[in-house]
């Protein structure tokens, strides 16, 4: 068992996107290459949606809506996560959040925010997850 690891320490603030370590392999020397998301992940409106935000339709697809909007509204007649919507509609996550943001703006869907890890974790929540897993 030769490979040995060295543990890392928590960083104070989240670091900016790292440069790809081997991104330069196709680029000429001295021409830095960068990786970034096509549609921008730091857009204010979209930043609120998580992969597991549950989306629920508030109404039937309006006749004026686009086919994509109608597809989302039909899928969300029962709650469905942004990740599942993205998978079923075969849309990248950022495109999916843009579409949902429009629907939230038009009051056609409701978003139910996920529970994220907190400084003071809710032990009742952790216990509920344990009990759910035990039934599996």
């Amino acid at each position: 068992m030769t490979p040995r690891r060295k543990r890392r320490l928590p960083q104070e603030a989240p670091s900016p996107p790292p440069l790809a370590p081997d991104a330069g392999e196709e680029a000429e020397a001295g021409s830095p290459e960068r990786l970034y998301a096509v549609t921008g992940l730091h857009d204010g409106g979209r930043a609120q949606l998580d992969l597991v935000t549950l989306i629920v339709a508030r109404s039937a697809p309006p006749p004026s809506g686009t086919p994509e909007q109608a597809a989302v509204l039909r899928l969300c007649s029962a709650p469905l996560s942004v990740a599942e919507l993205s998978a079923y509609l075969d849309l990248p996550f950022s495109a999916m959040t843009a579409l949902i943001t429009e629907l939230i703006g038009a009051d056609l869907v409701q978003a139910r925010a996920p529970i994220v890890r907190q400084a003071l974790p809710d032990r009742t929540l952790l216990e509920a997850v344990m009990h759910g897993l035990q039934r599996l």
Partner: protein
């Protein structure tokens, strides 16, 4: 609520009837399953999920910014980063999602918020290639995401005493290391339970940050 789905509409893929969540589903939590290439992430997600495992993607462009580029002449190539996920209903109100995330560190910034919001992580390791999971462990440590280590027992993989593994992985004594056969639902479930017990003990001791 029931918005009569018109039969005239062309069928788009969607959840099967038995895969639909109840209207009472209020909130979701997530756990990430991480590890290097080919360690069994997708298999683990599939073995415990109540839905057929799905894949979500993010697309990035890789832009070459040449020193003497003319405007608009920079070359871009699209890269797609895929992530498998599955789902487990916990209660009428609460849903757990499991994400199997890719091991290449250069792509993780796309999913930073996934890591940060997750309750915790399972790091899968293959004892034949321990080092393929090193990067992801360091990343979780930097971001303060609690994790446990699960050794996916491939038949021809060498077995090591836990304390030897702990040394090689430089893990603190309290971090659980378990064996797992990710192809078996019970084994994957027990691994997730070990993570939950660990998170619970951290919460009790107030050590979670």
């Amino acid at each position: 609520m029931d918005f009569n789905a018109s039969d005239a509409v062309p069928a788009i893929p969607g959840p099967r009837t038995e895969e639909r969540l109840p209207q009472t589903a209020q909130a979701a939590v997530k756990i990430v399953i991480v590890g290097g290439f080919g360690v069994g992430k997708t298999t683990m997600v599939g073995s415990v999920s109540e839905i057929r495992p799905l894949t979500t993607e993010e697309t990035m462009t890789q832009a070459g910014i040449g020193i003497d580029d003319n405007y608009g002449s920079e070359t871009k190539t699209a890269t797609t980063v895929a992530m498998d996920f599955g789902r487990i209903s916990i209660t009428e109100k609460l849903v757990l999602y499991l994400f199997g995330t890719p091991g290449q560190e250069r792509f993780w910034f796309l999913w930073n918020r996934l890591f940060e919001g997750a309750l915790g992580a399972v790091v899968l390791v293959d004892t034949r290639r321990l080092d393929v999971s090193f990067d992801v462990m360091g990343r979780l440590e930097e971001r303060g995401v609690p994790f446990i280590v699960a050794v996916n027992s491939f038949p021809d993989a060498p077995r090591h005493p836990v304390e030897e593994l702990r040394g090689a992985l430089d893990l603190a004594p309290e971090i659980p290391i378990v064996e797992c056969d990710v192809r078996r639902r019970a084994s994957s479930r027990d691994t997730l339970l070990t993570l939950m017990h660990f998170l619970h003990s951290l919460a009790r001791s107030g050590a979670l940050t």
